[in-house]
Amino acid sequence: MASILEIAGSVLIAAGAILMVLGTFGLLKFKRFYPRILISSKIDTVGMLTLLLGLVVRHGFSFFSAKIVLIIVILLILNPLVAHILSRSAYMSGE
């Protein structure tokens, strides 16, 4: 017996995995630096966040999901920063 929460969590995890696969395909498809960094930040942020949210929904309210929420917060802070620093240094080195 799968509860509604479990089904919703599985759907979210599958959506995250599909987003990551599509993003990887885009990463192979684009050749220039800036489209690639756009795509890679999408993979890191959107795909990862959807997957982790799916895990939280599936697992319910516990210490484990509190840790995942912490990871989500750190990802939300760090991933855009990484993309920002990469594109900034690329711009400065004249890419």
């Binding site: 750190i74 802070i77 760090l78 920063l81 920002h84 620093i85 900034r88 240094s89």
Partner: protein, 316 residues
């Protein structure tokens, strides 16, 4: 079956040693790795077999590429491969081959179950006995700090060797410099602000990983790298060039020798086994925490020194 493969293994090793022609050595080595992987699989460790197969494949490819480059350079002076027009069929082929590889892998991932002929003797032994032998909750930690502690020590030795190699084979003789090139990040307000928020969390997380290595996933190696990441953040914001590198190297050596001494100490207590289980039972979790702290600090020191070396000295 397994004896035949082991005999073949020794036979191949005996063939490789007197061989002098390069390309034949590569081919024999690839066959040797294949036989090694097969014997690992038959001896009941499919994961090691997969690692061996992957390593042998990549090393063979690297060797072949190196040979090709070497001989092409010798043949026509300088390697300047002319760019060919890529046809549509060739472009499609580029996608077909990975797909052909991915589909069987995926099928293998879904349908493959190790049969009963794969022995799980060691796994069962470790999983049933680690709680009373070593203590802790994380079986992985008790394996790498108790049953296989000598493997872990040699793994930690790799970092020591890396530092020795980097600092002694370098063209620059000095260990520290007063000032050097500054990182560009310090002029980027957004990045500095965010790193200032994140860096203490990183340090805290590293300490958490080290101290909780025997309870949750983590341990000395990962925690040490996280602690070193804190110092890398510190460099990125404040451009710190006055690291006491020599003291850090000395500290690392002392920590490593302490870890070795603790691991070897049990043998001299007359514990009876090579891995001193009798003596581990007395200390249980305090031993795990102590070893994790030693290894974590050692790895942190090594990563700091390597980072400093490449950023401050090798970049000039």
């Amino acid at each position: 079956m397994i004896y035949a493969i082991l005999v073949l293994w020794i036979f191949l090793a005996a063939i490789i040693i007197p061989e002098r022609r390069g390309i034949r050595i590569i081919i024999y080595f690839a066959i040797f790795s294949l036989v090694t992987a097969l014997s690992f699989f038959l001896l009941g460790s499919p994961d090691v077999a997969m690692a061996e197969a992957a390593i042998s494949t990549f090393s063979t490819i690297f060797f072949v590429i190196c040979f090709e480059k070497h001989f092409r350079l010798k043949a026509d002076g300088e390697g300047d491969p002319e760019k060919k027009e890529v046809s549509k069929a060739a472009a499609a082929k580029k996608y077909v081959l990975p797909l052909l590889l991915i589909v069987p892998l995926f099928a293998l991932f879904i349908f493959f179950r190790p049969g009963p002929e794969v022995s799980t003797y060691l796994k069962d032994l470790y999983i049933t006995r680690f709680a009373q032998d070593v203590g802790g909750v994380n079986a992985v930690t008790s394996i790498y700090l108790a049953y296989r502690v000598y493997d872990t020590l040699f793994e930690a030795l790799v970092l020591v060797i890396a530092i020795v190699a980097v600092s002694h084979m370098s063209a620059f003789k000095e260990m520290t410099v007063p000032d050097g090139e500054h990182s560009d990040i310090e002029r980027d307000g957004l990045a500095v602000f965010t790193i200032r928020i994140i860096a203490p969390i990183l340090l805290l997380f590293g300490v958490y990983l080290v101290m909780n290595g025997h309870i949750s996933p983590g341990g000395g190696f990962q925690g040490g790298v996280a602690v070193a990441a804190f110092f890398i953040c510190r460099y990125m914001i404040y451009n710190i060039y006055d690291m006491p590198v020599k003291k850090i190297i000395r500290l690392e050596e002392v920590l490593f020798m302490t870890a070795v001494a603790i691991a070897v100490f049990g043998v001299f207590l007359g514990a009876g086994t090579f891995v001193p289980l009798e003596y581990l039972r007395l200390y249980q979790e305090s031993y795990l925490i102590l070893m994790n702290i030693l290894i974590g600090l050692k790895v942190a020191c090594a990563c700091i020194v390597l980072f400093y070396r490449f950023v401050a000295i090798e970049r000039r």
